[in-house]
Amino acid sequence: MIRLKDVEMEYDNGTQAIRGITLAIEDGEFIFLVGPSGAGKSTIIKLLTGEVEPSRGRIMINGFSVSNISDKQLPLMRRTVGIIFQDFRLIEKKTVYDNLAFVMRAVGAGEKELRKRIPYVLKLVGLEKKATHYPTELSGGEQQRVAIARALVNNPTTIIADEPTGNLDPERSLELMRLLVKINSLGTTVVVVTHEKDLVDRFEKRVVTIDGGRIVNDSVGGYVGGHIHGKA
């Protein structure tokens, strides 16, 4: 469960990125967060992952109050959220298996757990035969699926995908989005930040449109009210 209440965010340089956003995302929901460049989408992700603190307002995510979270609580909160980046951010010198293993070790998982969980997650994203490959040996779509597997491997309650299709062709983008919908159907809350109108329109999901740091539309269906000027 994610709650934002009257959240404002002003950076040190005076940029007002978020202007009084109130938003509720229920457990198991799938939402698209859309909007033009500079709308504030990236700031919302930073706020949800505790990278920055809001200037005003309250943020709750999976039972943690992120607005005033302690250094001790922050890692625990982050374990409940899996993040997928546009540029995959895989470690090139590690194999697919090791890319997943190191995030499991980071939260204290044992080798036995790793051997059980990693093959399961790789199978879920269709990469069970690529475990010993290095990221550079994979296509863009496969790399993004590894990134999804990595986000899933610690069994988070929420997945936040930041422009996950930004580096993929339309066919791979659709394939990836279907995978996220499949993950959502297994009970994981999914928040997808994107600027791709066509892709959003293909899924009958909740779409929250942000512009100028404010929510300008929140509805189920296609991309409404946004003014797309390019990549966010």
Partner: protein, 295 residues
């Protein structure tokens, strides 16, 4: 920290060390150089100190009594001499005893065997508490009425005191400077590693790794660098010390100096090197990783 984590941290630390071979080599090299310089000066100071202690043990000031004094009068000076500051004991040696001692010393020289005791003076063999105050003690004894001459090997003791003091000052200065330099260099080596792995660290943070988990592999890396440097430095120090000892023993001019056996010193040297190496390594790594754990 579980057993599996210990293995993982250790493996990661060692792998980091090898993946930045040149910088690791530089860091180990500088640690070895620092410890070796530090160790050499410390051992010089230790040896100078030992020489001083030996001298303190054997050192005697000889105070000669006025020839016009009778033996009884000469004996009466004992209390006055013993009352002087820094005098631990004063042993009276009559001219007859002095003659015997001399003849014993030169037993093979027949020409000395018929010496008349009258050519010797009554004397006191005086031992001091602190060899560094020999000069003042000599002056004080010279001022005692009835004492006409005082012999002391001040130059040798002064020389040793100077060597020890210089070695101590240089040693302390070097320890501080080299410790700071070593920590700085190891810190930069590990900074390079952390910079190279900043993406990995960022991902670890985003998935909820604690600062401790992120820090440990770097601490192990620093530990391994410091430990390796300490072991190499110890072996080199040992070799160097043995070579110098042999050189001193085989030298005609230096063989009077008794060098402390390395067998008596290796434990404190090894412990000091290990502790200093590990402090340098771990300290350097902690200082390097600190700024990567801020986000």
């Amino acid at each position: 920290m579980g057993k599996h984590n210990f293995r993982y941290f250790f493996r990661e630390g060692v792998s980091n060390m090898f993946s930045h071979g040149f910088m690791s080599f530089a860091a180990i090299g500088i640690t070895v150089a620092c410890l070796l310089i530090m160790g050499t000066f410390t051992l010089v100071a230790v040896n100078a100190n030992q020489q001083l202690k030996d001298m303190e043990k054997d050192n005697e000031i000889l105070a000669y009594v006025d020839e016009s004094y009778t033996t009884e009068q000469a004996r009466m000076l004992q209390k006055t001499i013993e009352a002087q500051t820094n005098v631990s004991s004063a042993t009276f040696i009559s001219r007859e005893q002095a003659t015997e001692n001399f003849q014993e010393k030169y037993a093979n020289e027949s020409v000395f065997q018929d010496l008349d005791p009258e050519i010797f003076r009554d004397r006191y063999a005086i031992k001091t508490v602190d060899i560094q105050k020999t000069g003042d003690t000599v002056k004080a004894i010279e001022n005692v009425a009835g004492i006409v001459k005082v012999n002391a090997y001040e130059e040798i003791s002064d020389g040793l005191i100077t060597v020890r003091n210089i070695a101590t000052v240089v040693c302390v200065t070097l320890i501080v400077v080299l410790l700071v330099v070593s920590v700085f260099i190891i810190s930069n080596t590990i900074k390079l590693t952390t910079f190279d792995r900043r993406e990995e660290i960022a991902i670890m943070r985003m998935v909820g790794a604690t600062n401790g988990f992120i820090r440990w592999p770097f601490v192990y890396e620093g530990f391994m660098l410091g430990f390796t440097g300490a072991v190499i430095a110890f072996l080199l120090q040992w070799t160097l010390y043995e070579a110098v000892t042999k050189g001193v023993e085989s030298s005609d001019t230096l063989q009077l100096i008794s060098v402390v056996n390395f067998g008596d010193l290796w434990i404190p040297v090894a412990v000091t090197f290990l502790v200093a190496g590990i402090v340098i390594g771990v300290g350097g790594s902690l200082s390097a990783i600190r700024r990567f754990l801020q986000v």
